[in-house]
């Protein structure tokens, strides 16, 4: 039997009847905006090939044609739920290039907005984690409690989701009157609510039996694969950019970073929840230490030109360390803007965790990586 002649570059793969190839995504309730090509033998995953890139929008290229201020509204699109945090490194880097000195009050307000946004993002993430595990109450509760903070952000910025609040030179507008009291009340209530999630979700025996000891990422692998954020901290490594390289006023605030040692899916799902409680603490502390009045932005010239050179800034977002690299060539537009996003770094760990697991563990491991497909594609 002669083999058929094939065009160069193509080869016939021998089919194994035991192995079934599943295309999980892009149109699948458990995939997000991406595709995972999974090969299963019975109920066990034997090969896994994450395939991102379905929502690539060319944000970095777009940033080369707009000046430093006009880049703000479109650069936050990759993660609209965490829009303050994804703008943060860009704003810090462009301020250094433009040579701006930021008022003290603006720095505190930035920290408050950033922490509120972290909570909003984590609540959204938690809601989807709940529905991935078939727990519909855990979908509705975070999605409802998130509204509290979204209302706060609406009072601050005027927009519910895409705020465009941080601009080079400070923040867009000052806080409304009486904001401190409302913020304190909402945040206190929010913290009370998220503590109730333990009863219905985190201490649920079925949840623990399903997620504990699955998708274990060891300490060595977590470092070797270059993971970041909650994935890294769930594997027992205390690394938080807010502590290691404090930006704005984080070195003056009192908080801790939660670290767990197990490195399994359950630990990875707990870290963001513990993060939210620390965020509430930071917000309360910042509200207390914030200067009560003062300017919140530096006046910019129209079309400001950056100095010749390049700057790299990092912050801790809801998913992990988020960096922005800007190269300037003394023009109003940046020469190059590169976003180094945590989602893409955590995606690299996915094949290592999924191979050898049961198909039923796929959604919980996938979403415990704190991965946002749109951000990875940029």
């Amino acid at each position: 039997m002669s083999s058929p002649t094939l065009p160069p570059g193509l080869a016939i793969q021998k089919a194994d009847e035991r192995i079934m190839t599943l295309n999980v995504g892009p149109q699948h309730p458990g995939s997000g905006h991406m595709r995972i090509v999974v090969q299963i033998d019975g109920d066990q995953i034997v090969a896994c090939d994450p395939d991102p890139g379905y929502v690539h929008r060319g944000e970095e290229k777009m940033a080369e044609y707009r000046n430093y201020t006009l880049n703000v509204p479109h650069l936050e699109r990759p993660v609209i739920h965490d829009s303050c945090n994804i703008l943060y490194p860009y704003v810090l880097a462009s301020e250094e290039l433009l040579g701006l000195e930021i008022p003290e009050r603006a720095k505190y307000i930035r920290v408050i907005a950033s922490e509120l946004n972290r909570c909003i993002y984590i609540q959204y993430w938690l809601a989807i984690y709940g529905i991935f595990l078939g727990h519909s109450t855990m979908f509705m509760w975070p999605a409802g409690d998130r509204e509290l903070l979204i209302d706060l952000m609406e009072k601050m910025t005027g927009a519910r989701v895409t705020h465009s609040y941080f601009i080079p030179g400070g923040i867009r507008n000052d806080l409304p009157a009486n904001f401190e009291d409302v913020c304190l009340r909402q945040v206190n209530y929010f913290e009370k609510r998220i503590k109730e999630y333990a009863d219905v979700f985190y201490e649920n025996p079925i949840l623990i039996s399903r997620t504990a000891n699955t998708g274990v990422l060891t300490r060595e692998n977590a470092i070797r694969l270059g993971t970041t954020g909650s994935v890294l901290r769930a594997s027992g490594i205390d690394y938080d950019v807010r502590k290691k390289e404090p930006y704005d006023v984080y070195d003056e605030l009192d908080f801790e970073t939660p670290v767990l040692k197990d490195g399994d899916s359950y630990a990875r799902s707990r870290i963001p929840w513990l993060d939210m409680m620390e965020s509430c603490r930071i917000i309360r502390d910042a509200l207390q230490k914030m200067p009560k009045s003062g300017s919140v932005r530096v006046k910019l010239k129209p079309n400001p030109k950056g100095e010749l050179g390049s700057v790299y800034k990092r912050i801790e977002s809801g998913r992990g360390a988020l960096g922005c690299y800007i190269v300037s060539d003394k023009k109003p537009e940046p020469y190059r803007v590169k976003l180094s996003v945590p989602s893409f770094r955590n995606l690299i760990a996915m094949p290592h965790l999924l191979i050898g697991e049961k198909l039923g563990n796929m959604p919980s491991i996938y979403w415990s990586l704190n991965y946002w497909p749109v951000e990875a594609d940029r």
Partner: protein, 432 residues
């Protein structure tokens, strides 16, 4: 907060009910009356007792209780009424519809939202009807590679099997569609059909996700059927019969759950697994395998499978009530019907009305049905509750639970029953 439902107001509630009544009356008058006249125009009327049955005469008979009540009573003893209306399909479908509504509202309250609210004006009571109309009006899409006859047959078979299950349930003394001596064996036989239909539909769709879902359903149902059957043996040992009516009648003084709590717990857990409800909804696990074995069903085919699922839910809850909670037995709630009304009639102002043949239903039947429905609704509530509290379990943990723990507990239950029987406390010739 963003959207908050309007607060409940009694005046608006009454207004909305009056609105609905107004529209129903208007539609009946505008469509119903011309339709009736149109039909009467074409139908040849029969001659009864030497009189031509004109429409006026028919209406007179309807208004005359001495003629209409015997007709109604005669109709209620027919098999058609039993199968289609009361202990059979109609009654079960009504409870199933109520279950869907209660499930949606209760889950909504648990999750701090409102649930169906606008359809039907009163708390979204017509939402189910709207969903049904939507499903009927949708296009039915059959996958190109599907085995078409089997794929078409699967939803119909599913509903038919669920209806067969419903037919075996005794609701009140003497009110059961199929009163057979091996009722419990017939129940096991009907339950045994469900995995066959599931794997048939999953395989005939010729698609990957339904296939995985079908295999999962097969694993789940087969491994939970054994503890299910074993957990019911305790009741059979104590009553010495397989007839469901006799099992229900044997619990006139106490329900079996007092003596066989282990069996009741095992049966309840296996029931959740057989019904594919959370935490055992692996065959329809959304985030893993889309919708499992239901993935390729569209339009009314999906609607039929859902109807079958809820009929099955009612039937399982009713079986639990019959076997463990005493069926229709309970203290009298319905006041007895005074004999004088039949013999002497009622004085309504100046008129004395005679109602020969009253009452239509016996006191026992109404009281039994009331208790049966109350208990069934209670069991259904506990079946629905885990959906708001638990996440989905994994396949290996599920099989572990079924094969190791539940079968052991079911044997413990059998030993308890045997012990009670041989100690002479319960069963034929026992103290009670």
């Amino acid at each position: 907060m963003s959207i908050i439902a309007p607060k409940f107001k009694l005046s608006e509630f009454i207004k909305s009910i009056l609105d609905n009544i107004f529209w129903i009356l208007l539609i009946l008058t505008l469509i119903g009356l011309p339709a009736i006249q149109f039909i009467l125009f074409y139908i040849e009327m029969p001659v009864i007792n030497g009189e031509l049955l004109t429409p006026f005469l028919a209406l007179t008979w309807l208004a005359d209780p001495s003629r209409s009540i015997p007709i109604i009573k005669a109709f209620m003893t027919t098999d058609l009424f039993r199968i289609a209306a009361f202990p059979g399909f109609g009654f079960a479908a009504l409870i199933a519809a109520g279950t869907i509504f209660v499930e949606r509202k209760m889950l909504a309250k648990l999750q701090l939202r409102v649930g169906p609210f606008y359809c039907g004006k009163v708390e979204g009571i017509l939402q189910l009807m709207g969903d049904g109309l939507k499903l009927i009006s949708k296009e039915i899409i059959i996958p190109a590679k599907a085995d078409k006859p089997l794929f078409w047959a699967a939803p119909v078979l599913f509903v038919a099997t669920a209806a067969a299950f419903v037919a075996l349930i005794p609701v009140a003394p003497g009110w059961v569609v199929a009163d057979i001596d091996v009722g419990l064996l017939a129940v096991f036989a009907v339950i045994g059909f469900f995995p066959v239909i599931t794997i048939l539909s999953a395989w005939s769709a010729n698609s990957k996700f339904p296939f995985i879902g079908g295999i999962r359903a097969l694993y789940q149902m087969v491994s939970f059927e054994i503890p299910l059957i074993l957990s019911l043996l305790g009741v059979v040992i104590l009553t010495g019969t397989l007839n469901l009516s006799e099992i229900a009648a044997s619990q006139s003084s106490f329900p079996w759950i007092i003596f066989l709590p282990v069996g009741a717990i095992v049966f309840f857990i296996t029931m959740l697994a057989e019904l594919e409800r959370i935490p055992f909804d692996l065959p329809e696990a959304e985030s893993e395998i889309v919708a499992g074995w239901l993935t390729e069903f569209s339009g009314m085919m999906y609607g039929l499978v859902q109807l079958g699922t809820y009929l099955k839910l009612y039937a399982f809850a009713a079986l639990f009530v019959v076997l463990f909670l005493g069926g229709w037995n309970g203290p009298m709630l319905w006041p007895p019907f005074p004999e004088e009304i039949i013999t002497e009639g009622i004085e309504l102002g100046p008129v004395t009305a005679q109602f020969p043949g009253l009452p239509i239903l016996t006191q026992e039947m109404i009281n039994g049905t009331l208790w049966f429905v109350l208990k069934t609704v209670g069991v259904i509530f506990f079946i629905l509750l885990p959906r708001g509290v638990f996440p989905r379990i994994r396949v290996d943990l599920l099989l572990d639970l079924g094969w190791k723990k539940l079968i052991g507990l079911a044997f413990v239950n059998i030993f308890i029953a045997l012990g009670l029987l041989y100690a002479g406390i319960l069963g034929p010739g026992g103290i009670f």
